[in-house]
Symmetry: C2
Subunit: 399 residues, 2 copies
């Protein structure tokens, strides 16, 4: 499943230390594509974020996205911006398009400059492979990985009034993960679709999808300087333009939601050192916002995350996190479930079976449900446990 008229690939360009680690990805559309993007809300924004936002403002259509791992190009001042612009320019020159029609994204160590001397050769070689029609989506997904342990891609194909539309995406992200993406958000996500859709509609669909996926995933609570989600829609599917309020738009929007959620869950599954994917569902809150706030606090609680690593049904740490979320709650109304097991009722422990709880905690995917019994608000958050490997990975990342 791959959208029509896109060509993508990845290669080793000399940024990553290891020669067999791909570090440069290229996403190219044979046709001018409508684009929407969300970037990090962190006030410290990396150069590629600033450059891409500028290009999006300037250009009605986007033709390519170039993305590197191994260097975040963040906190690099005006030179950093020049380097990001240069990456776009090299691609534009090869593709015969304008530099402002190319977007750029980076991930890796903050505060270092890109090794620009090595880039032109590598990017040109990558262009030549892609332009020759060698479409390698796996190589693209691998090239953006940092501490990720597997390449993350997802796709859906839908039918819109007879036209087949495909939505494909890849994402990276394992640490410094707590995306807070604002319209115009270091996870990097690249989504390609051959749908015919206007910019406004694409933007609305992206916001909706991100709100319930990338903005609900956390590994460490640390919002990155480089988070970017970019979607390109090149129209190759030939469907009637997707309009809000019509069924084909809704179907497309759902497919985009599904692709983003698949990718977000993969980020949590592959969180640094993770041994469990944890899904936290808050139900019956006063409103959805309160529910999301509580879910985020539980999802980032080191005590909850280490308890899950330890396969410890320590619901006291969960309710303590709920209580400090800054949301009005009534402790004596709260019910907590691990999987299907009710471990706390009305704010107090139930006489649950520790051995049954252990069985839940021995699964790879664990669901924690918190019922506030106050209203109709609800939210889900995706995270992972904190393991000994989490500490090892992060104590030794830069040096």
């Amino acid at each position: 499943m791959f959208p029509k008229d896109f060509l993508v690939g990845g290669t080793h360009c000399g940024i990553a230390k290891k020669k067999d680690k791909k570090d440069m990805a290229l996403f190219y559309s044979k046709r001018p594509a409508v684009a929407a993007a969300m970037f990090t809300a962190n006030l410290v924004k990396a150069a590629p974020v600033l450059v891409s936002a500028g290009h999006l403002d300037k250009s009605a259509h986007i033709r390519a996205v170039v993305a590197n791992s191994g260097c975040a190009n963040a906190c690099t001042g005006s030179r950093g911006k020049q380097d990001a612009e240069e990456m776009c320019r090299i691609v534009a020159e090869q593709a015969g398009v304008k530099a402002a029609e190319v977007l750029v994204a980076s991930t890796g160590v903050i505060g270092r400059n890109l090794p620009m001397a090595r880039l032109p050769k590598g990017i040109r070689a990558l262009w030549n492979t892609v332009a020759a029609g060698r479409n390698d989506s796996r190589a693209a997904a691998e090239a953006i990985m940092t501490t990720d342990t597997f390449a993350k891609t997802a796709a859906r194909t839908i039918n819109a009034d007879g036209s087949e539309i495909t939505v494909w995406g890849c994402v990276k992200g394992s640490g410094m993960i707590h995306p807070d993406l604002k319209p115009h958000a270091t996870m990097l996500g690249f989504i390609l679709t051959d749908a015919v859709i206007g910019r406004k509609e694409l933007d609305a669909a992206l916001r909706h999808a991100v709100g319930a996926s990338f903005n609900c995933v956390t590994v460490d609570g640390d919002t990155s300087t480089n988070d970017s989600v970019i979607v390109l829609a090149n129209g190759a599917a030939g469907n009637a333009p997707l309009k809000k309020g019509k069924t084909p738009y809704a179907v497309f929007s759902s497919a985009l939601d599904a692709v983003c959620l698949d990718l977000a869950r993969m980020i949590a599954t592959d969180g640094e050192g993770a041994t469990h994917l944890i899904e936290i569902e808050v139900r019956q809150a006063s409103n959805d916002r309160d529910a999301k706030k509580i879910a985020a606090v539980v999802a980032t609680s080191p005590l909850v995350k280490t308890a899950i690593f330890g396969k410890d049904a320590n619901w006291g740490r969960i309710i303590a996190a709920v209580g400090r979320a800054g949301v009005t709650i009534n402790p004596s109304l709260i019910d907590i479930y691990l999987g299907d097991i009710m471990v706390a009722r009305h704010g107090m422990g139930t006489d649950f079976s520790e051995s049954k709880a252990l069985k839940v905690l021995e699964q790879k995917d664990i669901k924690i449900s918190i019922d506030l019994n106050m209203g109709k608000g609800q939210a889900k958050y995706y995270t992972c446990d904190y393991s000994i490997d989490y500490i090892k990975i992060n104590a030794n990342y830069r040096t």
Copy 2:
């Protein structure tokens, strides 16, 4: 250095599993003492917090504080409150005072009931030792420890217009540490002084001291259900009553500040699995509140805490945390220091010596300074690194 007319002690009462682990502390004043206290702002409040707050409202003077480790008596409903009241009643009966003149505090696992059958005998034995005049402040400090690795006490003696006043305090806290203490906050802190001082003045002095000490310390960002700081002033020093605006009050207030800060730093030093005490100073912020908000976010960033464990001068993680603090900043004005070494200037890396930075990071106590270069606001926060032992301790705490 110990204030006059207080008797304190600690014993094993049958709550802790290990027989040689003291689990019950008693703080007794021979005279009616003026009391001030601050309890957790977590909306899930443990029974002893609710009971102590009620006793403080009812009683003009307090005679004793009884505190246990090994069981938090939190999320225990009405039975929990009865048990906390019963602890006060047993002490009151022995001491010949009213139950409402006794405060109570607990720390340990959430969601379990106290083993009340064992308590009367243990508390009475403790009372008998204390009443016999065996003053054992180390035993009291040990009895409130959970995952703490050392007993934490601090003291100052001052001279107030010829009268010698002593302020002594002990504290416990190693995990679930991010106190958010509100007037009338599982760190437990008990401060005793023989000063003559009114309740209003004592309350003001405590709020001031806590604001720059316990409310600026974090281990894991998890605010507990049981945090309590209690100060008793029994007047045995015989000084003229301390009045705000006068020098002796200021000297007393400074001594209380110093005792609280000493104890707060000890909490960070003894954070679960900690290998470093980290002091984070934010300077030249727009205002003190912004400075404190930023310091708190940096202090709770898992990526900053693991970098320090790895002795990695990874200032990019520090500036990324600053940028997500929800405070208006200008990234290109930010300077960052590790100890005396400027590692970032105007938001970009300096060409600092990695070997000199490593020397700073090999110290036990590490200072991170962040200059926002915007205004006159400042704040300090105290935390510790995240080590492999942190995960081990917390993956195996309850079971």
